[in-house]
């Protein structure tokens, strides 16, 4: 029996075979897509965790928690979390004032406002709520922080940055800059990923 004749008699013979390949390809693509999604979500959570920690370390006194965490005493650190006290906003206001860029009342206002802004933006990343707005704000904040520490270094100011509360007190300028740039790159990658996804959806 010729191939053409066989096909005309059993027209669906080839169809399952033809369908298997695209289905298999779609499954592989789905797995890849899921893996890629997991990766981006992990990046979301890591960056959000950093900003939540940064914000909380300015609002609450995390010294005891950090000391216990550094000694790997997790139970004690959890115990400390129950007895958290509010940190003095004056410390962070002094940290901002040290940059000698803003008048004191503005430093005080920012000392109250910035930690909450960081936390709300981080929550935006975690819950994907106002996601791109949160990313935009965080990128702007990181740009401003990076410019401020660079300007301070250029002006020869001996500055203690309160970026991560007492945890970042003894960071050198290069480690500050490297941390800021790493965070900034992560945020930019997430932003462009989110923007390209949104464009793709619009196009579809």
């Amino acid at each position: 029996m010729g191939e053409e004749e066989q096909m005309s008699q059993t027209p669906n013979l080839q169809r399952p075979m033809l369908n298997i390949q695209p289905l298999g390809g779609a499954a592989t693509s789905n797995i890849k897509h899921r893996k890629s999604n997991i990766f981006w979500r992990i990046l979301d959570f890591v960056l959000a965790g950093l900003f939540i920690f940064a914000g909380l370390s300015k609002i609450c006194d995390l010294d005891h928690v950090m000391a216990h965490l550094q000694q790997l005493q997790f139970a004690s650190a959890l115990g400390d979390l129950r007895n958290l006290s509010l940190a003095s906003p004056a410390e962070f206001a002094n940290g901002i004032d040290n940059f000698k860029l803003l008048p004191w009342p503005v430093s005080v206002a920012l000392a109250f406002y910035l930690p909450w802004l960081e936390i709300f933006c981080a929550l935006g990343l975690v819950f994907r709520f106002l996601y791109r707005g949160a990313l935009t704000l965080l990128i702007m904040l990181m740009l401003v922080f990076t410019l401020a520490i660079t300007a301070a270094k250029v002006r020869g100011l001996d500055i203690t940055c309160g970026c991560f509360g007492h945890a970042s007190q003894h960071w050198s300028f290069p480690s500050h800059l490297a941390t800021n740039l790493a965070i900034l790159v992560g945020l930019l990658v997430l932003f462009f990923k989110a923007t390209s996804r949104s464009r793709l959806r619009t196009a579809l």
Binding site: I59, L86, S88, P89, A90, E91, A93, N94, G95, D97, N98, K100, W104, P105, S107, V108, A109, F112, Y113, P115, W116, L117, I119, F120, C121, G124, L130, Y131, R132, G133, A134, T136, L137, L157, D158, I159, T160, Q169, H170, T195, S198
Partner: protein, 142 residues
Amino acid sequence: MKFLLVRQAAIIAALALLPAAGEAIYFRDKISWRSSIAPGEMVTVDQAGGWGDTAIWVDARPDDEFASDHVPGAISLNEDRWNELLPQFLAGWSPGKKVIVYCSSLSCNASREVAHRLRKEAQLSDVFVLEGGWEAWVKKNR
């Protein structure tokens, strides 16, 4: 697209204002909106000089800067070696003595941190921060 970003960012910025305002109200008596340090916690070089032997000088700068030069009689107490240096400082301190903490210049923060920790952890009351730090002291005395 741009409008959406601005709108989202504005919503988050506005949401963050609420707890910030609450915190500002809660701390209204604990922080001054006019000056960075409460006037009673600062001391000028002239005032500190007038206290003579009734005051102890504390150098909050890093070890190498203390080693290169310091106020005569000053005790080194910095945050890098806090646990090691605090007992040495307390051995030299006696009740009733004022403590003057200084760091390198007007812009440094180490003296404020050390003064804060002395008040909080060592429960000392008469702790002052030298206005202008080491730079101001050198200008007046050298």
